[in-house]
Symmetry: D4
Subunit: 216 residues, 8 copies
């Protein structure tokens, strides 16, 4: 068969295998979902477009689907952790990425708050949320273009920061490569970075952190 589900992933890595839908047919997504649901009570599917989602929903009518986030989720969203996860973005155009992070976090049982459009061209917008920044246990910061927001946030807080470069921009932005390289070169210390548009990965990094430390 084309798929070999990793049924022990939750035990080892903290969460069951997530289906990456981008390069898969609806049929492959469906059979992988059924396979995972044999042993688990829910399944998360990332990068699934409306067309494939429609097919999924035919079989699983209660499935959650967000087109902006390209995320589907079969099962209940149940909060399992108390740490405060703050997700912020630089602009409205980053919406799909922060929503991927937000719904992934919900699926993981985390407690996320989402605040959008706080880019550095209008600093007062970010500064209006100083309390949220200082109370957060973990901050996911998504930005496109020059990717300056995580650096500024990094200079304002002690919390762990996961920077998500987005592919928002054009020309010299190189479909987010410039943003990513800029974030990796940040003058603010202790930022760490995930792949371009990888809201899912950012939420997972938060899960690793929160699960490990809350467990203690």
């Amino acid at each position: 068969p084309a798929t070999f589900i990793d049924h022990q992933r939750e035990e080892r890595c903290g969460y069951p295998e997530v289906i990456y839908g981008l390069h898969k047919s609806a049929e492959r997504i469906l059979s992988a979902s059924r396979e995972i649901l044999k042993l688990k009570t829910n399944v998360l599917i990332s990068r699934i477009n409306q067309e494939k989602a429609n097919i999924l929903i035919t079989e699983f009518p209660d499935a959650f689907y967000c087109e902006t986030a390209q995320i589907a989720y079969i099962g209940d969203f149940i909060q399992k952790f108390d740490s405060k996860l703050l997700i912020i973005s630089a602009g409205t155009s980053d919406e799909s990425v922060v929503k991927e992070a937000y719904y992934s976090a919900l699926a993981f049982g985390l407690k996320p708050t989402l605040i959008q459009d706080l880019g550095v061209a209008g600093l007062h917008r970010l500064l209006a949320y100083k309390d949220e920044l200082s109370q957060a246990d973990c901050i996911i910061v998504a930005a496109g273009m020059e990717g300056a927001l995580p650096s500024v946030v990094g200079g304002l807080t002690t919390a762990p920061i996961i920077a998500v470069p987005t592919s928002v921009g054009y020309g010299a932005n190189m479909e987010g490569v410039t943003t990513m390289m800029a974030m990796l070169s940040s003058c603010a210390s202790g930022l760490s970075v995930v792949n371009i548009d990888n809201g899912f990965g950012a939420a997972y990094a938060a899960l690793r952190m929160i699960k490990t430390f809350e467990k203690k």
Copy 2:
């Protein structure tokens, strides 16, 4: 003056300003050190070569200096946090990077353990440390060449993983750019990545996490 020390950085970001020595003259490093020591009891200097370190040590004879790590530290190493920080590398050639992470962590008051040369070409070496992996609260994984080690570690543990690409390799490795891009593209979920050879940044990311969660 050329330098404007950020004296509130510890309050905001969890650690005082660290001097980045690479593009600075010994003189600039010295004056910045003196400036920081007016208000703080210790100062960390990264990317400082032997020649500049010698000048520093003339004025501060008790300063710690590790040439492999290119790190100098004036002050006492005092452990302030209990979480287990595991630092591992893929090969002996990554030594300078993991030592930069190690001594930075010591300076931050963290409790690091360093295990080197666990690359995936001989998997049994990593598997011999399964206990250390599963007990760690945070894992820094440095690797050069194709940068596969963090993916494998990511598939074995729940702990937060900070991947550090190193510039070890040649040709297609592109001085670590390939390693970095590979780590950002990892099939293991929830890794986050810092700049090439940035052992310091990895340790700082660990500090943000540990300081935030231990404080709770």
Copy 3:
């Protein structure tokens, strides 16, 4: 005429000219196929989409076509060699590439076995096939994203390994360029690499090896 068939290629290189369909019109593919079939009993066409394949099948109704692999084959699949060719992939998403390798190998008269979805994020999946790995005479390893699988396989076996980077991934993956560069930088010794998504080329490299050594 636009096409000059190299009728001696089998004698020189071990297999007749294969038609690369990507940039050719259906008409050009058809006339080249007819030209080759004047002197040979079969013809292999790679990178041919469904639409062009339909036209081909109108003229050659017995032709084999696999849309996933984008491969067409006119003639019989006849096994000519006994060596064990193992083809493995890291994920379900790599399916089109390993199927291109698989059907090319069949057309070449090789004896391929295909096992999919053995990526390093769940190492036990690969380790479950240790016997297959150690008995193989040649291993084709396809992977996308960070391309770690060939390094791990390289550390487990003596057999020749042909690594195939796939364009599965996004962002820092750079449509497979990162995967390819990573495989070329592998810490495991003696891997060799073919072009991104080049399942056909990997199978041909296996053919060169097996034909040369079995002939002895």
Copy 4:
């Protein structure tokens, strides 16, 4: 002869030809200087190292030379324009670049003020100079690493901003290419950018602006 001095450049472009010393021998620099001084009363030489400068000074003992800026100037610094040119940098490591801008501006007859080390990791440093920012007629902003400073300045002021990426950083910084690309992708509107480390060019852009508008 190897050099063809453009004696009308001042009339056309606002300033006589400047000698770009990087790829020229001391001898070529000397003969070009003599040639320019036949018709003009001063000459500016950029990218000239200490060794070549020493030879220049033997012939022109009153020449000004700044090693940090790699700039030599034969003649008097005479202020000709009243507009306020503010030059700021993100870090001490950018010193050579802002000094190249500063001394070029002095040679051009501009009225520059230089303030260093105002990087976004400690925003209060920049905000302490809000008055200088709002009173400036033109602002040159130099930064390395992720190059976020011009975006933040761009969000705080109406003045024209010339962003200068510096090659300060390592790894993903790509010797300033990332910084440059980031600045060109800025979310703040109306920034314009010059080449990496091109303090001279930034000052010249200021000269074009100030000379044109003061003349009116």
Copy 5:
């Protein structure tokens, strides 16, 4: 909400927030427009395609829209500044970019003149406009391919020059990256550069300059 309008931007940066339409839905564009029009009398929208513009025009039937420039503007075009802004292009193919600059400038209250198709392959075309060049207070120069036009203009005038690389070209042009890099490497001194195809940004840079200097 997904959008957080920066209502103080005009006071700080000289012009109200402009809506960047490329990655936004028609609905997001509409709600942001309404939000801005609560406090301002006009709104500028860049990178908005015909389809989204149609929806906008349904609500704001008097809105201006230029498909070539992908610009929409709700409000009156009122000239507020007297400085001469000259906008020139190298070829007919650059039309969309210079029109973006032209209509942005009109919306900003500037006084732009547009002359197209003056590329260096037929120098007499540019030289026919020597008067316009020498009388301009600011020149925006757009070019694709090798981007030579700004260098030639830079050698003919004292005025400030804002170079706009366009994505016109193919192959080695790299969708305008080559043009942009070439402009940044210009042998003519004092050019400054904006992002590829960024006519809007060039006009904004002109606004910063003209507003600052006319105000004096």
Copy 6:
């Protein structure tokens, strides 16, 4: 107006302005054609697709159009030069490029011969045309993939060679960038190279050579 036809181009550069259709609307192409035909008896249009060509042909029913080459020509093809121009390609997939060169050459009055599919994987195909190679006065060599053909031709002949990289290939071929870079790095001396897929430019380079030398 958007277009400023360079009516003296033939006198200066040997051939009237050619309309580059890729980024132009049918309407712009038509008006430029009419403008050129006011003073010249024919006009060449490159990179014009079938749809735009249809509109052109409505007005100029005698126009020549080749969809493969994306070339339109209004006027008569009249041979004006006697030198032998040989155009060869490595594969059938390069057809559009060599046809662009071929029809451009015809329009220029040159005497081209076209031989396709002589790639180095079957050297005897090229060697079968040794006479044509040695009698040619100028050779255009188009190849995609690794671009080896010009090097081999360069080692067999004295004639001037214009190498045309094509975008035929995938993955590591980088849409022809690899081919182009390889040709520029050729071990055969005295090759010169034009842009990727630039059959038109190659023919024009031949025109410059032949026109200059036949005129003598």
Copy 7:
């Protein structure tokens, strides 16, 4: 300790761990050599310069060292395999790479023949060795610049071909990256490629093949 020797590598991968000397101090190389020699009778060290080799030879006076190849070997060269390994290069400048391959092959117990300077600019040189080509069981082909040689060899033989790009060239060659990308894009089928200048890896790929097939 910094080094964790993989003592089972020979059993798993066909040859003991080889010490990669490039980023290691002489001291680290020495201690790793001693560690390996505890269990094995010989040790191979790659990328070791003259200075480090001198220190090695002080302790192991019988060690073999070739400065051109940057290879040291402690132990006896004993032939263990009968297959014919042909190593060829395009030019004299590739000497260091083919010698790295040659001495690695000798250390592995293979039977290599080395023929240099057979580049495609003078095809008769390669054709003079047609017998050697057709009798070889495996061919390593090293070339720099445009890397055309493996394609030509690939079109002449059935044997497995391992292409080694070298960093010989300048400018567009990009320190061998162009060569590598070109080889991966070869029009000849079934070539596989190793890293730039990786003579060692090519020999190891030959070892995997020969060891596996001779064992049968």
Copy 8:
């Protein structure tokens, strides 16, 4: 032996094998020179530094050597062709490249004229040589930075133009890669381009042209 001289190259390609000295030892250069001089009366060596040249001159005291051009020549410079080869450069800094072209041309028996420092920042310098441009049979145009000069020359003349990008510049110039890409993207038709700094290759391209056409 490491070197296999191609003694028939003059008969095939118009000039005997030239020794590329960059990656060769003095010893290899010497033995290749001796080998060529067995059958020919002169030998050209490119990219040979002063140190290696000194050793060459010890054996061949009459050898010509130009350090700027890094060219050595053993034999007499004898003019064999009458066509006018014009070599021009944009700046003094391009001197080494145009001198490489100049001395190569002399060695080839061509009749070159060299005019330096005609860059587009001061157009009148080029226009002062309009007669030389219009009388030339072939023009080599070297430029660094943005590489605009060939485009301007291309718009002024009918003669064949060989553009040579030089590595003069910094930052965005990417060591000449930007210049090269820009030249390949020129808006002037019919330019052809050689590798970065490849003055030798440009002269050889001129030789191919002139030899072929003068022979007729």
